[in-house]
């Protein structure tokens, strides 16, 4: 399944080469064998977690210093994760594991984190799915967090191979019912832990109060009101129970088209302009219904066009902007660049790295999202306009763009709590279909689109460019992106607050689960443009949207003038979007690749220096304090968090043990032909070229 471009030049025409080479020689295997029996590694199960199947004497490949070796152990599959219980755990017990993921161990893969499974048959790599006739000698698992696992099954009993391989394939690839999510068994078993932490300050937006608070915070309460018309989801299952609309809007309008065609408030700017979103009205063929829709929308527009409301600019995200299809295609190309099986593949792709990156378009999509968000910010900030985001269901690009705009304009969203509240408001309550977009249930691959991940990547660009403007770091974002696939947190496992409420509620009452209505088919890949929206809003759009040239000028001026000033980290924050400024989120994407590891280097080196200095300053402060109380109390040495910072690698804190030694990694690939420079290349250094004058 590797993209052709990734393997490099080898189209379909060549004779198939072995796509897998084993680096483990039989001798190495024998030396390891004895140790296996001596060590008993126990499987840690979460509350409610059940062991489904297992296989012993599985060999896990570990890459180290550009060569691979194997570690024996047990491969198990539970209803939560796939885990490898190797005998090299002892290596993990040293102090380097001071930072570790408590839920997901180094050799654990949650079932939802599995992306693709490959089997190696006679040195050929094939995707595994469904019922297998033949079982592979090697299993390769590509994870959604971009880890790659390779397990050799050659020394495992045939029975066990069958059981574990089909078990893993079934539990990760086969369509699942919502009620089978581990989430539910976990919630039942670990109920005492579900008590809300009283210190939890993240605003969940599940009460009317929360919305009122947000209105008050942003001074939006003059023109907008929180409504409870959808309490109990009686109007619409797509919308949250509480949300905010323009004050004069009659509540019965909300019921009219089940919340479609209603401008819903996202956020208000300090100058009074607001960001609104609206889901499109259902498509109709019937002229009569179209007329009704038209007059309905006219009414709505009249309401929000009248003073005190600012001029509204409509931003139709369903057309003239990214399609979800584009995002999906780009990401599936992009992620392949990081799912690397071995060193050879790494260096083969290295020469063409930039063009491979570009051909995935992922970075360009990030740029377009950031640019769109800057455009909207310009309208609100500089032109004092309201912006109405339009999208079919207002739950994909609407969430993305609206959260980005808020992140740029509202410094509160750049605190950790503020950011979490933003996600809660725009994504969770905004009805982003996490279940479908992450394909947690494996019901429809076409629905799988990493919109939220795209958002996090856009946020990362901002964090990377303006670190002091954020309370959180890139590591926070990386960990957050991982938690998309950990089914003990319910946040990212439902399509809507309604779906979550009904299911979680039932669970808590211990009622038998009934499957919720199958997720509605949204058909967002439709190529045709949305005529309805165009027709109904056509006039107004043309009136309100400036000609594109003018728009470009406004954008340029706004963008340049902001970047020409010094950055106020507590004010408006814009990203740089020029070519060299949009970068690969290296921490997330390169963290498992040993070849990409900079031993004792990388950003972590400066940051740990910073931390050491913090500690020093802190302990000095304590000393001074103690002096002041004129008590010569014995000093407790400040604990040193990162004592051996020099030995941290650039992959810290994610992959600590990829490379032990300080041997350099050497590129193995050769030089690419220079093409038109061949003549020059052949020349001698000191020849004076007379023809060049």
């Amino acid at each position: 399944m590797l993209g052709k471009g990734v393997v490099g030049g080898g189209g379909g025409t060549k004779a198939p080469k072995p796509s897998f080479v084993s680096y483990v020689r039989p001798e190495e295997i024998h030396t390891n064998e004895k140790e296996v029996t001596e060590k008993e590694v126990t499987l840690h199960l979460l509350p409610g977690e059940q062991l489904l199947c297992e296989a012993s004497t599985v060999l896990k490949y570990v890459q180290e210093d550009s060569c691979q070796h194997g570690v024996y152990g047990r491969l198990v599959c539970t209803d939560f994760k796939i885990a490898f219980l190797g005998d090299d755990e002892s290596a993990l017990d040293n102090d380097e594991t001071q930072f570790k993921n408590k839920v997901i161990g180094e050799n654990d893969i949650t079932l939802h984190c599995v992306d693709q499974i490959y089997g190696v048959f006679d040195e050929k790599k094939k995707t595994l799915f469904g019922q297998l006739k033949k079982y592979p000698e090697k299993l390769i698992i590509h994870c959604k967090d971009l880890r790659v696992f390779q397990f050799c099954l050659r020394y495992t009993k045939e029975e066990e191979v069958k059981r574990i391989v089909s078990g893993i394939i079934h539990h990760t690839q086969a369509p699942k019912l919502l009620k089978r999510l581990f989430l539910f068994s976990y919630a039942t078993a670990a109920q005492n832990n579900t008590v809300t932490d009283p210190k939890n300050h993240t605003v969940m937006f599940d009460t009317l109060k929360d919305w009122c608070w947000e209105l008050e915070r942003t001074k939006g309460n003059m023109k907008y009101k929180a409504v409870s018309v959808n309490e109990g989801y009686k109007v619409c299952e797509r919308l949250p129970a509480y949300f905010v609309v323009p004050t004069p809007l009659p509540e019965e309008n909300v019921q009219r088209f089940q919340g479609h065609g209603i401008p819903i408030w996202c956020w208000s700017c300090h100058n009074g302009s607001a960001l609104l979103k609206m889901s499109a009205l259902p498509k109709e063929q019937d002229d009569g219904i179209l007329q009704i829709q038209k007059s309905f929308l006219d009414g709505i527009y009249k309401t929000i066009h009248r003073p005190p409301y600012e001029i509204v600019k409509t931003e139709d995200l369903s057309s003239n902007f990214l399609s979800l299809q584009e995002i999906q295609t780009a990401y599936s190309k992009f992620k392949q660049l990081f799912l690397i099986d071995n060193s050879t593949e790494f260096w083969d792709t290295d020469i063409k790295w930039f063009s491979l990156l570009e051909s995935s378009s992922w970075l360009d999509i990030i740029r377009r999202c950031l640019k769109k968000a800057i455009e909207i910010t310009e309208c609100m900030e500089a032109q004092n306009m309201n912006v109405l985001l339009l999208e079919e269901n207002a739950s994909d690009l609407c969430c993305l763009i609206s959260s980005l705009v808020q992140l740029m304009m509202d410094p509160h969203c750049r605190t950790r709590i503020g950011f979490q509240s933003l996600i809660q408001k725009e994504w969770v309550m905004g009805g982003h279909c996490f279940l479908d977009r992450c394909n947690h249930l494996r019901q429809n691959d076409k629905e799988e689109v990493p919109v939220f991940l795209l958002f996090l990547d856009c946020v990362w660009q901002l964090v990377h460019q303006h670190p002091p403007a954020f309370e959180f770091t890139e590591t926070y974002l990386t960990v957050l992106s991982d938690s998309l696939y950990i089914p003990i947190f319910s946040t990212f496992f439902f399509n809507s607050p309604h779906q979550k409420d009904t299911n979680m509620h039932q669970r808590q009452l211990s009622l038998p689960l009934t499957q919720s209505k199958s997720s509605p088919k949204r058909g967002f890949f439709r190529e045709e443009t949305d005529h309805l929206i165009k027709n109904l809003l056509g006039k107004r759009i043309s009136k309100l949207i400036n000609s594109s040239d003018e728009l470009q000028d406004n954008f340029r001026e706004f963008y340049d003038s902001w970047h020409s000033k010094s950055t106020d980290y507590h004010g408006l924050l814009l990203p740089h979007i020029e070519g060299p400024e949009i970068k690969v989120w290296a921490q997330r994407y390169l963290r498992w690749i040993p070849e990409a590891q900079i031993l004792g280097g990388g950003q972590v080196a400066t940051l740990s220096k910073l931390l050491e200095m913090m500690e020093e300053v802190q302990s000095l402060q304590e000393k001074i304090d103690e002096r002041h109380h004129s008590q010569q109390a014995p000093q407790a040495e400040a604990p040193c968090l990162l004592r051996n910072s020099a030995r941290l690698s650039s992959l810290f804190p994610f992959a600590l043990l990829q490379r032990h030694s300080s041997k350099p990694v050497l590129p193995t690939s050769g030089w690419k032909a220079l093409g038109d420079e061949d003549d020059l290349a052949k020349r001698e250094d000191e020849f004076v070229d007379l023809g060049d004058v």
């Binding site: 001071q98 570790k100 993921n101 408590k102 989430l183 670990a190 832990n193 932490d197 993240t202 608070w213 300090h270 020469i351 930039f354 970075l363 509160h412 605190t415 950790r416 709590i417 979490q420 303006h466 002091p468 954020f470 309370e471 770091t473 590591t475 960990v479 957050l480 938690s483 946040t491 001026e557 970047h563 507590h570 020029e578 070519g579 400024e581 390169l590 690749i593 004792g600 280097g601 950003q603 080196a605 910073l610 200095m613 913090m614 300053v617 001074i624 002041h628 004129s630 041997k663 990694v665 050497l666 050769g670 420079e677 290349a681 052949k682 020349r683 001698e684 250094d685 004076v688 004058v693």
Partner: protein
Amino acid sequence: MGRPRQGSRDYASQPPPPGAQSNFPYRDGPWHLGPAHPQRHIANYNSQLPPCVGPFKMGFPAASRAKSPALRSCSPGRPGALFLPPAPSRDAVPPTGTGRRAAGGGRGRAGRGGRTPEGAEPGPAAEQPGNGGGARSPRVSRMASASTSKYNSHSLENESIKRTSRDGVNRDLTEAVPRLPGETLITDKEVIYICPFNGPIKGRVYITNYRLYLRSLETDSSLILDVPLGVISRIEKMGGATSRGENSYGLDITCKDMRNLRFALKQEGHSRRDMFEILTRYAFPLAHSLPLFAFLNEEKFNVDGWTVYNPVEEYRRQGLPNHHWRITFINKCYELCDTYPALLVVPYRASDDDLRRVATFRSRNRIPVLSWIHPENKTVIVRCSQPLVGMSGKRNKDDEKYLDVIRETNKQISKLTIYDARPSVNAVANKATGGGYESDDAYHNAELFFLDIHNIHVMRESLKKVKDIVYPNVEESHWLSSLESTHWLEHIKLVLTGAIQVADKVSSGKSSVLVHCSDGWDRTAQLTSLAMLMLDSFYRSIEGFEILVQKEWISFGHKFASRIGHGDKNHTDADRSPIFLQFIDCVWQMSKQFPTAFEFNEQFLIIILDHLYSCRFGTFLFNCESARERQKVTERTVSLWSLINSNKEKFKNPFYTKEINRVLYPVASMRHLELWVNYYIRWNPRIKQQQPNPVEQRYMELLALRDEYIKRLEELQLANSAKLSDPPTSPSSPSQMMPHVQTHF
């Protein structure tokens, strides 16, 4: 629910008032030092630059803090924690209220504008947009507001502001242009500067024998252009009588530092002809029998940069001479090899006659000599030029024996490793012109590898392509593929890969290494100096790096004069090539990957490159040591190291951690190599990296704070010991005693 009710605050338009702790949004973060600064962005730096370990301790996963949305509805078995926070609660924050005082600690570097490190003396080639121009003058307005920072008080922008305001009244030319001692004003003209970023700007240009200096005459812009004439590679006339318009007489000036300058002049008074002739004369003095400015420069510094490198001392530092290696003066008068330094280190067992015989078999007599010796395993890096094998496959017993003597110096039985920097095809092709490489048959005890690094012409064309994609406009939509098509980073990758191999071989102690290319003054210098930088932490200090450049590049005859073309008008000269720039770029890539390993910062590398072209210092003039000696360069010119070493603080990396004996291996993968935006795209106001880097700024603040505390503690200790003799009086409140140390633990 206990949610924060910050709603009363106008969150967007009002930054937290200084000192208003309760409203400070990030007040409980671990990085908060307290908004002691009256200026808001300084206070804001406090905001959280949590290191990447931040989340571990700060809360997303930590149980004691608010949970993420993800954690809210149901927590994992172990309370809420994804990661184990190893340290005690980090809620504690460092003290607040000391920033103001701490900031005054004289750390002048943190707030500096960046590109041009000198204070009163703008660096060469510094384009300084003025302060009054809003969008037109991005740099200064940024700095102007950043000048709320105490650090900035010496920035040159302030300088230029002063000058401009003065300019309105005072038209005295001597006041109008900054001048070095020895610099004289030649002419001034009214011109239109066609700024590629901000459009035409009316200004007055002053030409001295050292620089071209332009000041805007427009009220809304105080743009200043300060370009040493040495960076000019080509001056062309554009337009003229046939073109229309008032200012149709144009001059296009191509610079060696990745930019072009365009001026439009009026037809009257032959002003273009004058300017063209004067510029040509002083930018290319060699063609007009004029001296380079370095020989006229009368600057005085309190440090003499010419004493930085003393070969005997440097070899002594390496433990030389020893039982196996001796220092020879055979080349004292440059008779053995006119492009080598006077002092050479050769195997003890090779006699001077041996050396002379070997010289006949090495291109331009550049015999294998020692560059560096490993302090423990005694393997060495030896450099030379190619052997003169020729088409007939000539052999030279002396050369073969000499290499074997080198191999034996570290008592290893393994073969000597020869790295030929060239691609093998080129090495083979060189046989046609009498060169070649060490064949297996002739050199039984050597193993030869080709490193596939291309020649100077390829590098020159590659850099030209880089300029095409970055100046004046940065290629946007296809940035990555355009970058790839320049091959620049690919070349960097190959040079680094070669150097890593050299360093690894020597570090492993398996064998000594001999490096050569064709003549051993371009690629060879790159490889040996980079390998030495990886192996020897001494070279990663400021003085160490100066010694490295002085030794491996300047003394060993990298042909700076030919490669750069100092004062020479022949801009198409095929001898020109950015080999040294490429080396500095490699160093920058290394410092980017190991941000704590180098004593110097990016400004240090940039100022070296600026004065590589400027001709203000004698450091990079001429092709070899013998020529420099003939010209008495050390007596008649100033060394660049004088300027740098008398201002060392400006070029220091605050994160530097000295580590002896640590070998640095950068990762030579495209995944980590980056275009050096702060150098190659520094003229573009749109692509401006924050200077200083906010993380660095934060660290500087902490350093200042630490020093402050140490001082306080000492004072307190004194006070305490005094108190011991007296009975304690009623305890005064700490805040009274130390108003600036407010703790918020």
